[in-house]
Amino acid sequence: MNINREHIHIISKHSRLPKQSVARLLSENVYSNTNAWQKFLRIFFLGLGTTFTIAGIIFFFAYNWAQMHRFVKIGMIEGLVVIATAITLLSRLQVLIKNLLLTAAVVLTGVLFAVFGQVYQTGANVYNFFLGWAAIVTIWVLVSNFAPLWLIYLLLINTSVILYQQQVAQNWHDVLLHSILFGINAVAVVFFLWVKKIRNNADVPVWFTHTLSLATASFATIGIITGIFEKFHPSFPVLLAITAVIYTVATLHAIKNKSLFYLSVIAFSVVCILAACMLNISSDAAMILLVSLFIVAAITIIIKQFLQLQKAWNNEQ
């Protein structure tokens, strides 16, 4: 029988189970065991070690090396990228180490681009830098199928789009920008959930899909709220329609998979949007009081519904 912390707390509360027995139960069933510690220490040392080493390399090239010839500078970074990818490809190291090495290669590619831009004064817009970086590492990201690397990749794409609007397409309305960002991230979420469904061995951790979903909902919420307060833009109804479709699909998915996370994110987003609609009608004292009451009442009703849903799910089990 799997004993968890809750079992022990409840039994201890309503019994005279001695303190020593509670301590033993916690230690044997709840606290981290040797295996958990081994796994933790491996990830801790390797993750932190790789991050520190890469940060050291970045700082090294960020230093203004006036005396160092450009061939040496670029050659050194290219050498490091080649070494990292060669070890990943040819060695028999653990998959985790190989993935971390590939992540290092991806970050070093960015350093290489930055140094190249600095040496040749290519005059490239910053968005070019991120877009080029993302394009060049695509194959590595696909091959590794490593969640942290996917996150870096999506971060690069999102940054490219934001910078493109700031530097090139300044006539893009904020609603349009958020619609695009929402679209990119929504496609990514759907894709990863689909991959997880069709391939059982695919490494798609929950933290990854949750982070992406949060970003997606944030872009939709900010975009719609901006659209509500600002002058009408044709992209606004499109964003509204796509958001409605995605939220509906996500709600159905959440109910099917018994996930309160997606439901909570969508509910909070909708409450924020409705509150913004109310404030757009009027921003006098009475309306603000109404908004306050609305938020509290809406969240309370939503939580009540969620708890009932949870109860139904528990009974199904």
Binding site: I8, K13, W37, F45, C272
Partner: protein, 357 residues
């Protein structure tokens, strides 16, 4: 009796086979059933807190726009009424559904009372002390997770306010040391605390979360340069306790998990631990985050583990950002530390392999 309640009763019977102790089966089954109903995870907790905070902000906005803050006495009375109402609702219903409303009413109450006391020229220190008193009374009266957590965080906020408002900035080191010690004792004595008395047992989980967040908030002030006026020569004071606790944890708690008895291996582990901890002597936030991470992992406290990891990343980055050295020197330090940590990875792997044999 449903399957869920059966599970815990079966477990109880299993335990009673090995040692005899009295137990109230009915109460255990009832609480387990209720806790299963309210097993909601982090999403609903966060939703209720966010709803509560947003509602409070809108309410404060309303007060300012409506100009209903002219009478200080009325503000204080309204504030106290709000707080009492929140505590009363929470105590009476004890339902998770009402958490958003009670958090909103509770926080609005503190805001109203605070604003009223300020208008009455009561003095900021007195106001902070009154807040601490009200929060303590709240904790004594009811022990529901959310409101208890908010009350404890208010107490922490008031202590920090008292330290900085009175220009005793360096006292933060003592406060951090105290919090670190209490948090450690709290986590490592779970069995003693949950078997002590009903109020302490009921407050165990919110208190654990509050202590962790209070500690992280307090070290944040020493982790970011220029936030408060701290004497650089005294920074190690905050780090000392965290380092001491981490050393204690490694030697007395973690090593026994691995069953390491060999002297040579023990010495290697001590050297590795010191090599990681000593450089953090002047980065108290880093050693603090490391302490939270290891302690939380030891007792498998998930919120603590996630907060520990995120704080560690943030505080390490902040430390190097604030460091007044050239990029080249920073690069050297980072690169060497990175290689050393990767070296430790291989040593740990070797120790693990030996331990498994």
């Amino acid at each position: 009796m449903s399957n869920n309640e059966n599970t815990i009763i079966q477990l109880l019977h299993q335990l009673q086979k090995t040692e005899s102790f009295e137990a109230n089966e009915e109460a255990i089954a009832k609480e387990y059933f209720e806790s299963n109903l309210e097993k909601h995870g982090l999403a609903i907790k966060v939703l209720s807190v966010l709803g509560g905070i947003l509602g409070t902000l809108a309410f404060i906005g309303f007060l300012f726009i409506a100009g209903l803050y002219n009478s200080s006495t009325a503000l204080v009375i309204a504030g106290v009424l709000f707080i009492v109402t929140a505590v009363f609702i929470n105590k009476q219903s004890g339902k998770l559904v009402l958490d958003t409303a009670t958090i909103c009413i509770f926080l609005s109450g503190f805001f109203l009372a605070g604003y009223g006391l300020e208008e009455m020229k009561m003095g900021e220190n007195t106001t902070a002390l009154i807040f601490i008193f009200i929060a303590l009374v709240t904790l004594a009266v009811m022990q529901r997770f959310m409101l208890s957590l908010v009350a404890m965080l208010i107490i922490n906020g008031c202590f920090l306010f008292l330290i900085f408002n009175n220009n005793y900035d360096n006292l933060i080191h003592i406060y951090i040391s105290l919090l670190a010690t209490v948090f450690t004792c709290y986590l490592l004595n779970e069995a003693a605390l949950i078997t002590s008395n009903p109020i302490i047992s009921a407050l165990y989980k919110p208190m654990r979360t509050a202590l962790m967040f209070s500690f992280i908030t307090a070290v944040y002030f020493v982790g970011k340069k220029g936030w408060v006026h701290l004497s650089p020569s005294m920074l190690w004071l905050s780090a000392l306790v965290s380092i001491g606790i981490t050393l204690f944890l490694v030697t007395k708690k973690i090593l026994p998990v691995f069953n390491i008895t060999d002297k040579k291996t023990k010495t290697i582990v001590y050297i590795m631990t010191l090599a990681i901890l000593l450089p953090t002597l002047f980065a108290p936030a880093v050693s603090g985050a490391l302490m939270v991470l290891l302690l939380s992992f030891f007792v498998d406290y998930k919120t603590g583990i996630v907060t520990g990891i995120l704080s560690l990343i943030y505080f390490v980055s902040q430390y190097y950002y604030d460091l007044n050295l050239t990029l080249l020197v920073k690069s050297g330090i980072l690169f060497t530390s990175g290689l050393l940590l990767i070296f430790f990875y291989f040593i740990t792997n070797k120790i693990n392999t030996n331990a498994n044999i």
